[in-house]
């Protein structure tokens, strides 16, 4: 349980947000040309890092906008929050 600083609304309780999982997984440009292995990699395989991880979050019970977060999953500490499309800051 932690507080998230939404880039659009400011600090809110984590319960207002929903996690969209690992960030920067790019949707395949030409899905018809993917092999089964590549589909599995895109759809299912996750780094699931214990430590600093890049994630997508959605302010589901607020502005409903998506953004990115760099968070340490071993202690739930948030290192940085940045908007979709922005380059991740170096932490």
């Amino acid at each position: 349980m932690f507080v998230i600083n939404c880039p659009f609304c400011g600090e809110r309780d984590q319960s207002e947000f929903s996690s969209g999982g690992e960030a920067h997984i790019i949707r395949p440009k030409q899905p018809t040309e993917l092999s089964d292995d590549q589909w599995a990699e895109y759809l299912f395989m996750r780094k699931n890092i214990k430590g600093v991880q890049f994630e997508r979050w959605n302010h589901a019970h607020g502005c409903r906008k998506w953004f990115n977060m760099i968070r340490d999953t071993s202690n739930d500490k948030i290192h940085a929050i940045y908007k979709m499309g922005e380059k991740p800051p170096i932490v």
Binding site: M1, S19, G21, F44, N48, T73, S74
Partner: protein, 417 residues
């Protein structure tokens, strides 16, 4: 050789104030090399080692545990055992485990306190009724005992449930598996540890795995906090930390690790003699032999390894518990804790070889691994010993995420993922 536990050994040891009991398992230093290494000394890992030694005669094994045995999810779950899963593959897997549970105490000469008090799953809306009836039929076709109960029968089986039709999510019926129940979670780890130790398995605690050594596409050993140990076969049974171990070997798994919470109340006199679960409102409750209510809450929606979880998740569960069981309104909760569960996209486990020779994974049990402990250990041991899955775990290979042959058990998994 282990001394047999019996009423006579109990009486005998009473004369020496129970100070001279034989150690149940040793505390060895790791050898330089083993035929197989199991990473993870929880119930599943210890069971795997036990069956490798017992059934497949591979006794030069070490179980490496970074903390103490049974200190992870084995000691953190709500101890519910059932096999009423929808698909044939899952029914085969979980009922295999349930059948072993039925004689486990005798086999291990260790009382795991398996109690077949029944597990009831409640329906709160029409879709629940349809789904649960379908699951009952599927279970019966697979030879698993399951019955549908209407609201009156639910009330009769568990009188403290509020079956008023005026509550927000009224009870419209439920399913009952009478062979299902609970067991003492610590005893399962301890019983398997004692059994494995007696067969020559080294149980090495406080030994954290730091790396997996490979020679090309083959494993050659593990780097640990107690030095390098050589081996050709590694079985990973690390639950929430499976991805961490997989990353060491350069593998990615289809897992996300999330905190799952549970809590217990102060102990009270017997009030509920079965296990009641409700998917729709997310409340499940049973009573331990000590008298505490054991309540399972949900998972958080984000990846975390903190073993804590959010307060909102507990609040949501208790809200549902209070509406379904008004009698608990003044109960005080004593303890709350979290465990890290590794969840697969289809809510079914992985018991499988990998693309790396000699590396095997038993993971992805998500929120429901405890019930499968004996079956999981048995089938994983078979997979490691023969380098081929048993027919009961063939469907639970890692390749199903490539082939698309998923075993979707979100409906039967009980905890909403």
């Amino acid at each position: 050789m282990k001394n047999k536990y019996s009423v006579f050994s109990l009486i005998k040891n009473a004369f020496s104030n129970h100070e001279n009991w034989q150690r149940a398992w040793g505390d060895p230093e790791p050898k330089k090399e083993y035929d197989a290494i199991i990473i993870g000394g929880g119930g599943h890992g210890l069971a795997t080692a036990y069956y490798l030694a017992k059934k497949h005669k591979i006794t030069n094994i070490a179980v490496l545990e970074k903390g103490w045995i049974g200190g992870g999810n084995t000691g953190r779950n709500t101890t519910i055992i059932r096999s009423n899963y929808l698909w044939d593959a899952s029914a085969g897997l979980y009922d295999h485990a349930l059948k072993i549970w039925e004689s486990l105490s005798q086999e291990l000469n260790y009382n795991v306190m398996f109690s077949q008090r029944g597990v009831m799953n409640l329906a709160h809306n029409l879709q629940d009724v349809r789904d649960l009836k379908r699951r009952t039929h599927a279970n019966r076709l697979n030879g698993i005992d399951a019955v549908w109960l209407n609201t009156k029968e639910v009330k009769k089986f568990c009188p403290i449930i509020n079956t008023s039709q005026d509550i927000r999510y009224p009870v419209l019926g439920g399913t009952l598996q009478k062979r299902a129940g609970t067991a003492r979670h610590d005893a399962v780890a301890w019983g398997y540890a004692r059994g494995a130790d007696a067969l020559g398995v080294d149980i090495i605690q406080n030994c954290e795995v730091k790396g997996i050594k490979r020679n090309g596409n083959e494993v050659t050993g593990v780097e640990t906090s107690k030095g390098f140990i050589k081996t050709k076969k590694i079985g990973v049974v690390a639950a929430g930390h499976s991805s961490v171990i997989a990353n060491m070997a350069g593998l990615k798994l289809p897992l996300e690790s999330k905190p799952l919470q549970a809590l217990v109340s102060e102990p009270v006199k017997p009030v509920i003699d079965t296990v009641v679960m409700s998917n729709a409102v997310h409340a499940y409750v049973s009573q331990s032999d000590k008298g505490e209510l054991v309540i399972g809450a949900g998972t958080d929606s984000y990846v975390s390894y903190t073993q804590k979880g959010s307060h909102t998740v507990v609040e949501e569960t208790l809200r549902a518990i209070l509406e379904l069981y008004p009698i608990f309104s003044r109960m005080k909760m004593l303890r709350q804790w979290g465990g890290i569960v590794d969840i697969c996209p289809d809510a079914s486990p992985i018991i499988s070889k990998t693309q790396i020779k000699g590396l095997y994974f038993n993971c992805g049990w998500g929120t429901g691994g405890f019930k499968a402990t004996p079956g999981s250990g048995d089938l994983f041991a078979h997979t490691i010993a023969n380098d081929e899955p048993h027919k009961l775990n063939a469907a639970f290979n890692i390749n199903r995420f490539v082939s698309g042959d998923l075993v979707d058990e979100h409906g039967a998994a009980a905890v909403a993922h």
